[in-house]
């Protein structure tokens, strides 16, 4: 019978030989840059994507939670935090932010190609980049706020032959021998998952309070290295054409039709309140 996790030999954690108690961890955090929440987003005329000009970008919220967890692990147990992101030149701003927050180094897969947002391609690029790095643990968010495939983390784990847990809210225990995390299930149920390193953990947002950058951190970040890859880098020579790795083709991005015809209430707050209460009373929706 076929064995599910096979074909790859999971790499031993790099810190395996060190003291059990010390458990220094080299943690990599995968992050995505997404449009700022509540910003007004316009569709491109050709309906292939959004208009990026004049748009403010920020760190995907649950990726920021993952970075916060990584920084806490480093502070508690020692080790190194590396951040990795893919996207166009603007992504260097995200990486500088992460470095200012306390990450030690940053990796950038620099490409303006929209196709790299396909989680099949993105997870492949990331796996190739991580390939020969000494990493024990990869942290990322459950999903991005823009496309929300919630696939890249588990796909990356599969490509590396590592374990994973998703919808993680808490790390209960982290040693070189064992990792115990708390995860969410549908309807608000919680479960505990026990797995071995190396592993990929995908975090929910709102599980911690991400720190703010200090002036000292911002200054220090300027001296830190951002290592760059592009699609011509030798690591990616296996990507001969998009269709060899990519499995999703986005045909069109469009404004969805409204499901209901909305009655818009306008005027001063007092007038609006009166109109609403009158309408709801007339329909016997409120006492």
């Amino acid at each position: 019978m076929a064995v599910w996790v096979g074909g790859f030999t999971p790499r031993r954690p790099s810190t395996f030989k060190e003291s059990r108690n010390l458990a220094r961890m080299n943690v990599l955090v995968c992050m995505k840059q997404v449009p700022q929440k509540d910003s007004v987003i316009q569709l491109r005329k050709d309906q292939t994507g959004i208009e990026e000009e004049d748009l403010e970008f920020t760190i995907n919220e649950c990726d920021l939670s993952a970075l916060e967890e990584a920084l806490r692990i480093k502070e508690r147990q020692g080790g190194e935090v590396t951040v990795l992101s893919a996207g166009p030149e603007r992504v260097t701003k995200l990486l500088r932010n992460a470095l200012a927050l306390g990450a030690g180094r940053a990796f950038h897969i620099n490409s303006p190609e929209r196709r790299i947002q396909d989680p099949f391609i993105l997870s492949w690029l990331m796996a190739q980049t991580i390939g020969n790095q000494k990493i024990d643990l990869i942290l990322t968010g459950v999903q991005s706020e823009d496309l929300g495939f919630s696939s890249t983390g588990p796909m990356l784990a599969e490509r590396l032959g590592w374990n994973h847990a998703t919808m993680v809210t808490t790390i209960h225990h982290l040693s070189l021998e064992q990792l115990v995390v708390g995860c969410e299930l549908d309807g608000g149920a919680l479960e505990e998952v026990t797995l071995k390193l190396p592993a990929v953990l995908c975090f929910q947002s709102g599980i911690n309070h991400p720190r703010y950058a200090t002036l000292k951190g911002i200054m220090a970040a300027k001296k830190k290295e951002i290592r760059q890859w592009n699609l011509e880098s030798p690591e990616f020579s296996g990507l001969k054409e998009w269709s060899s790795i990519g499995r999703l083709e986005v045909k069109e991005l469009f404004q969805p039709k409204k499901k209901k015809s909305t009655v818009w209430l306008e005027g001063t707050p007092k007038e609006i309140a009166r109109k609403l209460v009158d309408s709801l009373r007339a329909e016997a929706k409120i006492p």
Partner: protein
């Protein structure tokens, strides 16, 4: 080999078919008729009510009951292997699933393992020129994207709960149940449910409430979230919250509405400072009249609103409270 072009992977929880799986079965039947394809349903969790036999008898569908049942605490390795064995048996073109936390956990891995497309969280489909494509939300539901799978089948698709509630559950009558024996590997990952249904455990009557007043990130602060409680009291309804409001600590976790909280179906829903991201929208798809108050006229909550108010909650809500007090 018993070829079935469409395979529905149906999940049961606590002895009940989950809503998204119910809709996946209805969609499977709809697509099978539309494209003239054969359909099989793989059902996990044998002790359910209605029993698989009752379900087959009423729906007229062919149900393959997974035996032995895969426990809810099994890891992604186990689920992935189960589906792989089904694929080698039925060689389906399409595999339809409800978008559940289980699916989010195991299907992306399985897709890479099989090198097959996975289109998660779909809201609709299009069938044009004999080609099936899928519609899924993007940018927190403000836009939709049309996606087609590439590469070789099977193509894996998961659907949002509520997205296909319009399709009737099949009722042709006279279906069959077959045992589906799978060799389930032992897992190296242990899972254990430590707290089930945190939401309902807190004793809120949110799910049954006839009126719900819900607040989101746009409420701005814990103090301003108090207006939600006041309005709920005045309207004799229950208080709800979107995930960001719960995360900010303004509302208890048990009040969360949406895919990781509760599903509500009140006659009247007041959505205040809620953008209407898909995780929340699926939780209110059963609501009757929806009143949305948001300062962003493009917020996706307005797509499902009967009454729309574009404005600041700190201006509208106090006025509304005063108006309700007057009568």
């Amino acid at each position: 080999m018993e070829k079935r072009e469409i395979l529905v992977w149906a999940e049961q929880r606590e002895g009940k078919l989950i809503q998204a799986s119910r809709e996946a079965i209805a969609l499977g039947r709809h697509l099978a008729d539309l494209m003239n394809l054969s359909l099989a349903i793989a059902l996990n969790g044998g002790s359910a009510a209605p029993s698989p036999h009752e379900m087959a008898d009423q729906s007229g569908e062919e149900i393959w009951l997974i035996d032995p049942e895969i426990p809810g605490t099994a890891s992604y390795e186990v689920y992935g292997e189960a589906v792989r064995q089904m694929v080698s048996r039925f060689s389906p073109q399409w595999i339809l699933m409800g978008h559940s936390s289980r699916v989010v956990d195991f299907v992306p891995r399985l897709a890479v393992r099989m090198d097959c497309a996975f289109i998660p969280g779909c809201l609709d489909f299009r069938y044009e020129h004999e080609m099936l494509s899928w519609i899924r939300p993007a940018y927190e539901g403000r836009f939709h994207q049309q996606v087609i799978p590439s590469g070789h089948p099977p193509f894996l698709v998961s659907i949002q709960p509520g997205a296909f509630a319009r399709l009737a559950f099949p009722q042709a009558g006279g279906g069959m149940v077959h045992p589906l024996s799978l060799r389930i590997p032992s897992s190296t990952i242990r899972r254990r449910v430590v707290e089930s249904s945190a939401g309902s455990a807190q004793g809120t009557d949110l799910a049954q409430a006839r009126t719900v007043v819900a607040g989101g990130r746009g409420m701005g602060s814990r103090e301003q979230f108090e207006w939600i409680h006041q309005l709920a009291l005045l309207l004799e309804g229950a208080t709800g919250a979107s995930r960001p409001a719960v995360e900010a600590g303004w509302a208890a976790r048990g009040l969360q509405i949406g895919s990781s909280g509760q599903f509500v179906s009140p006659r009247l829903l007041l959505a205040c400072g809620i953008s209407g991201a898909i995780h929340h929208a699926v939780g209110v798809s059963g609501a009757g009249c929806i009143v949305a108050i948001n300062q962003d006229p493009l917020a996706s909550i307005f797509r499902i609103a009967d009454y729309g108010i574009v404005g600041k909650v700190e201006e509208i809500l106090p006025a509304l409270i005063e108006e309700l007090h007057q009568k």
